[in-house]
Every structure is written in C-alpha cells, then in structure tokens.
C-alpha cells in the first residue's frame, strides 16, 4: 500500500464516503490512487469552496468534513475556508499536497509553508514525512477535530510520501498528553448553578453553537421547561431550540430580535451555554448584563471570562453538564416570580414579533424570508451568506431544529452560503437545502454552479439582488454620511443567464408570491436551481451601531401586529 492509498483507506475507516477537492501537481499521486478507489470525490471549481463544502457537510451532519487541495496556491486557497471553520468550531480535515520533502524550503514550484500559514487557524496540523505515519495521523486528526471544542486540522503530505510504500498499516492514535478536553462538568459547580437557578426570579438562557455541536438540544429544552426560562440564541445557536416554541425568543445581538435585546439586561440570572460572547452578540460589554448573575457553561475554558465576567463557570460538554444540571433540578418547580417574569416575556415576544408581511414591489426582503419559511419544512437546511441576507434570514426565519441553520458567524465569510449548501446537501441528501445569498457574495463563488450541475446536487440557491454590497452600504448610509464608497456593484451579471450558461435553471422573481411558488416547485423538482429574487435596497434594521449597548438599537422596529 502506498501513502495516497493509505490516506484513502484511513478516510474510509473513519466512515468518510465523500470528499471535496481540486487536484494539482503535488496531489497527482493521490488523485491517481483515488481513480480506482471507492470514494466519492466532488470536484469543486475553487479550493475555497472545497473547504466551505466540507464545513457545510460537517455542520449539517455532525460528522467530520474532508477537503483536498494541492500545494502552494491550492493550499492557500483553502485558508479562508479553514479560518471560517476555526472561528465557528467546525470539524474539518484539510489534506494538502506538498512539494517533495527534499525540495521543501527551496522555494520550489508551487511551494508554500501551509503548515506555518495556517498555524493560528487550525486546531492542530500534521506533516507526515514517512508514509507509515499516515494512518495514525489521519485517525488522530479525526479524533482531535471532532472532540472537545471541534476545529479544523491540516494534513500536509509531501508528494513522495503519497507515492512511498508503507511497511505496515498501523493506525494507532498518536499520543497527545497535552490534549485532554474536560467534558464532564464539576459537580460542585453544577450544584452551585442549581442554587443560583433556585434563587433567581428572572432567569434567561442564551444558547450557542456549543449546544448544537454537543447534541444537547433535548437537554436544553428540558432545562428551559423545568425552570421555565426564556431562551435566546446566538446566530450560530439558531436551532438549538425550536424558534416557534413559546419560550424561544430568537437571536440576541447586533441584529437580534428586539425581545431578546430588550430582555437580557432585565434578567437577574443569565445561563449561557456553548457561547463565546462575541462582540456581535453582546454589544458594548460594560452595558451587557451589568446587574445580572452569569453562569457560563462551555467546553473551552479559554472562553470563560474572556469577554463577559462570569459568576459561575462550568467547564464541560454542554450535553453532559445540562444532563447533570437537569438531574439536580428534579422535582423543582419554578416560583411564582419566575412564572410571572416568563409570562411577561412570552407576551412581550408576541407583542414584538417583527413585521414580515409586506406586499411591496420591489419585494421587501422580510416578505421573501417569510415566503421561504412558509415553504420550508422543519428538516430543511438553510445556509446563508454573509451580510444583510444573513441578518434577514437570522432575524426573520424561525429555525426549528439543530443543524438546520448554517452560517459563517465568527469569520463572516462572504461566499460561504452557496458552497456550504453543497456540502450540506451531500451530507443530508434527503433534506431540502436552500442557500440565501446576496448578489455580492454569490458572485464570489458562482463558479460552483458548474459543480451542482455536473454532480446533480439539487441545491436551491436564492440570490437576493439589490445590486449593492448591502451591509457595508448600510453602514456607510448610517455612519459615514451616505458616502457609498465602492458598494454599488452595477447591473452585471444577469443572474438568470449566468445560471443558464452553467446549465442550471433559474427564475427571476419580482413579485409577492412568486418566491413561494418557485421554491415549492424547486423542492418538488429536486434539481439544482437559482432563484434570482429582486429586492428593494433597504437596510437590515434595526441594528446596534458599533459601541452601543445591547438595548440601544437604532432604526424603527416594525411590528407584525401593526400590519393593517
């Protein structure tokens, strides 16, 4: 067995059936061995999209996603995708080709020190200098990528190592004495948490991606119901609780639901689970929960106390900790004070439901999201790009299940929406997968229309067309005296013709009702399609201006109940 075959064999042993990649000079041996292997390979049209697809695959399925690129430019093209996965704790494995060992350091053709370049954005990396090391390194990579706080792993394989014969296939895990993630919460801390919960009169829960990653959604729901506390989520926590549930308030943060932003500081106890208190979630730190006790549960000790001072830290896996916490709360009934608070919040939620009903032409983005929501079933997966489209989707779309809302939160990577949808669809072929994009971000990755066509991946790409780089345009309008520097992108291309040139069907949508109809048909047809929705160029409001406190949103918050 040769090195490249060992890579494939090891991936198979880890249950991998599909990888995303793009060949090049230093991966020819690997691709040659892939030629005969029982391993599906999706040829993307840009390496960045291989990383995003692997990421989407991982987020949709909870399994590790794998992408492959050649050395030098292939590897550097993965960097944005790796950084995206790193920021959002997504387990992917990036395999890169490298120039032969004897040429490393010689500025050889297509050589880049990808191990060095990616050092700050990977959880760990390996460079096998001997084919015998490959099975262990791949197995260890999967173990490290998926355990603890998940993250990307890079494996950089010099060309001659791909070609070299193994003397033995030994895939025992590499010893990592420095890597012992704490998964079980300290029981004394958990009991203290129980006591804080029992003393609280106005508890509120903030659930983040950690809840989804650790499959703790049932435990979260149980906790929320036991203590009768409303639940907000971060952007990436969407789906941790069914957002149509009475207790679910929706997203907190810069573009959060008003009910969440208004209520969080009124709580006397914040139970934060699997969140990292990003600046986009908290607003100005000194006016975020100034008088609220904070319990912070997270598997990464470095997140605790990093941004928000914590009264009670619990390091551990969200599912483990919540299960133990729920156990200590057996027989607990929420007090009258708590019930009064939560009833008040539930009423507030109803009163503050954001307006989504419009019949304007050009279409209001809110109404487009509403129509999308009317068609999608709870198991449908929605991926978003970054910018206004993302915030509209996050704000107005109720996600009902975990792993069904996929978005680049931390890094905020434009061009993530469409390729991550490809990965999600490959991971979950039975679930409808829809990606919401802006016209700016979609153009960064539109070449992947070829991928969905060639492999018949029935992803539905919605392109909200307002001919602006909307989020930056909006900041320029609000904060830079309407000086719209480089944010008007003109009239090119015609997205319908663009899609058609790739052999992908496309529909141009301009009127109310058409999105719903076209999306319904697209799901039924189960074909790749682009829905080009022309929208009004407007702002994603309200929002927190930079430096504002969490309850200082600007812009009118239009309410659904005011619709006549």
């Amino acid at each position: 067995m040769r090195g490249g075959e060992a890579i494939i064999e090891s991936l198979k042993n880890m249950g991998v059936k599909t990888i995303f990649g793009y060949p090049g000079g230093q991966t020819i041996p690997f691709y040659d061995m892939l030629y005969d292997a029982e391993m599906d390979h999706i040829l993307v049209r840009h390496e960045q999209c291989a990383a995003h697809a692997a990421d989407g695959y991982a987020r949709a399925s909870g399994r590790v996603g794998v992408c492959v690129a050649t050395s030098g430019p292939g590897a550097t093209n993965l960097v944005t995708g790796i950084a995206t996965a790193y920021m959002d704790s997504s387990p992917i494995i990036a395999i890169t080709g490298q120039v032969p060992t004897h040429l490393i350091g010689n500025d050889a053709f297509q050589e880049a020190d990808i191990i060095g370049i990616t050092m700050p954005i990977v959880k760990h990396s390996y460079q096998p200098k001997d084919p015998d090391l490959i099975p262990s390194m791949i197995k260890s990579s999967f173990e490290i990528a998926a355990s603890g706080r998940p993250g990307p792993i890079l494996i950089d394989v010099p060309k001659e190592v791909q070609e070299g014969e193994l003397t033995k296939f030994d895939d025992s895990l590499i010893e990592t004495p420095g890597y012992n993630p704490t998964t079980k919460g300290n029981i004394r801390q958990i009991k203290k948490a129980r006591d804080l919960i029992k003393q609280a009169k106005r508890p509120i829960i903030l659930a983040g991606a950690g809840v989804i990653i650790s499959n703790a959604c049932c435990e979260l729901k149980k906790l929320a119901y036991t203590i009768n506390a409303p639940v907000m989520t971060s952007l990436l926590g969407k789906g941790a609780i069914d957002e149509t549930d009475d207790l679910a308030l929706g997203m907190l943060g810069m573009h959060g639901r008003k009910v969440s932003n208004d209520s969080v500081n009124e709580a006397d106890l914040l139970i934060a689970i699997g969140v990292r208190f990003s600046d986009r979630t908290t607003g100005r730190l000194d006016s975020f929960v100034p008088d609220t006790k904070v319990i912070h549960i997270d598997i990464d000790p470095a997140e605790i106390g990093k941004n928000v001072p914590v009264d009670l830290p619990i390091v551990g896996d969200a599912r483990n900790v919540l299960a133990s916490l729920n156990k200590t709360l057996e027989g607990y009934n929420a007090s009258d004070d708590v019930n009064k608070w939560t009833d008040m919040i539930k009423q507030r939620k109803q009163d503050l439901l954001p307006r989504v009903t419009y019949d304007d032409v050009p279409l209001k983005p809110q109404s487009v999201i509403k129509e999308i929501a009317e068609v999608l079933t709870p198991e449908s997966i929605l991926t978003t790009d970054v910018g206004q489209n993302q915030m509209w989707a996050a704000h107005f779309y109720d996600t009902q299940r975990p792993r069904k809302f996929i978005s680049s939160g931390g890094l905020g990577t434009m061009g993530f929406g469409f390729p991550s949808a490809i990965g999600a669809k490959v991971a979950c072929p039975d679930d409808p997968v829809v990606s919401i994009n802006g016209d700016g971000g979609f153009l960064m990755v539109c070449q992947e229309l070829a991928t969905v066509r060639e492999y018949d991946i029935p992803v539905i790409a919605i392109v909200l067309e307002n001919r602006t780089l909307g989020m930056v345009y909006q900041w320029q309008s609000l904060l830079y005296n309407n000086r719209h520097s480089q944010t008007l992108i003109g009239n090119s291309p015609d997205f319908v013709k663009l899609a058609e040139s790739f052999g992908v069907n496309a529909v141009r949508i301009t009127k109310p009702g058409e999105t719903k109809e076209a999306l319904g048909k697209a799901i039924k047809d189960n074909e790749p399609i682009l829905l080009n929705v022309v929208i009004d160029s407007e702002e994603a409001l309200p929002m927190l201006p930079p430096g504002a406190g969490i309850n200082e949103m600007i812009g009118e918050y239009k309410l659904e109940k005011d619709v006549i």
């Binding site: 050092m119 700050p120 004495p177 420095g178």
Partner: protein
C-alpha cells in the same frame, strides 16, 4: 492596564513548530515576550520553555488558557513568585590599558564571572545570575567599551518540591 512581570514555565512536546506556535500566540494577543528559552527537559521527547513576559492579569490568564489548548503543550505554570531565575551572559569588553585589564579582572572575580578568552585588546567574560546582577556588571564595565553582548534570556525553576 497594570503590566506585571511574569515567568511562565511550560512543558511542551519536542516537535518542529512548537516554539513558533507558542511565540505566535503571545504575539497575537499583543504581548511582547521579554525572553524565551527552550531546551530538553527531564522527560524524553519533551522540552521545557521558560517565557518571561510583561502582562496584565486578565491578558495573562487568557494567553495561558489559549496555550493550554495547543495540542503540543502539556503543562503551564506561572512560577514568578517561587522561582530561582538565572540568565547566562557573554560579554566582550575592550581593554584600553593595563590598568583597565586589572580592574575588569577584579570585577570579574567579585561577580564570580569567568574569563573565557583573552587577547591584547579584549576579554570575553561569562557571567550567570539574575537580570539585576547581569545588568549591574554590564554597567560597571561599560566605561571600558563593550564590543558585544550575548544573553540567553531567563531560565527559571520553582523552588522546593
């Protein structure tokens, strides 16, 4: 922000790139490392790094936690308060005249330093001690003209068991 002087001892895997990762982490979090020394430890395959840095409390806590997350980092300890600290310094000093030679050799004796190399015009002196001692010696011989200084940076070890 009150910056305090800290000495951190870390046990790491003896692998390529580990020094880069550790130093990079400090750099990314905005710390300027005063010195970093690396060498074999008492355990095969593991190295000990001693890092001295000026940092505020929360910043240091964060960087320590981030260091702990590196797969190659096994143990981290802030030994500022309990450590014996030593640094080795090599100094090449000019000898302007015979009187100077005698004086420098006297200082060398007082500081328990060693003379490693002698020529007509220069002396190479080896000195170990904490930062203060080395700085004191340097300022004493400065007047004669220092040609070169090479310092190892601080290494340290906690006292007691």
């Amino acid at each position: 922000m009150d910056l305090e002087y800290h000495v951190i001892s870390t046990l790491v895997e003896d692998k390529p790139g580990v020094l880069q990762k550790v130093a990079g982490l400090f750099n990314r979090r905005g710390f300027n490392i005063d010195s970093i020394t690396v060498g074999n430890s008492e355990i095969d395959g593991l190295s000990r790094m001693v890092i001295s840095v000026h940092a505020d409390k929360t910043g240091l806590e964060q960087v320590t936690k981030q260091l702990n997350k590196l797969v190659d980092v096994i143990k981290i300890k802030d030994i500022t308060k309990t450590a014996v600290k030593r640094e080795l310094c090599l100094i090449k000093v000019n000898i302007p005249n015979e009187k100077a030679r005698a004086e420098i050799m006297q200082y060398t004796n007082i500081f328990r330093a060693k003379i490693l190399d002698v020529t007509e015009e220069t002396l190479v002196i080896e000195l170990t001690g904490d930062k203060k001692k080395i700085n004191a010696f340097i300022s004493l011989v400065e007047n004669y003209g220092i040609k070169r200084i090479a310092r190892t940076g601080l290494t340290a070890m906690a006292r007691g068991v």
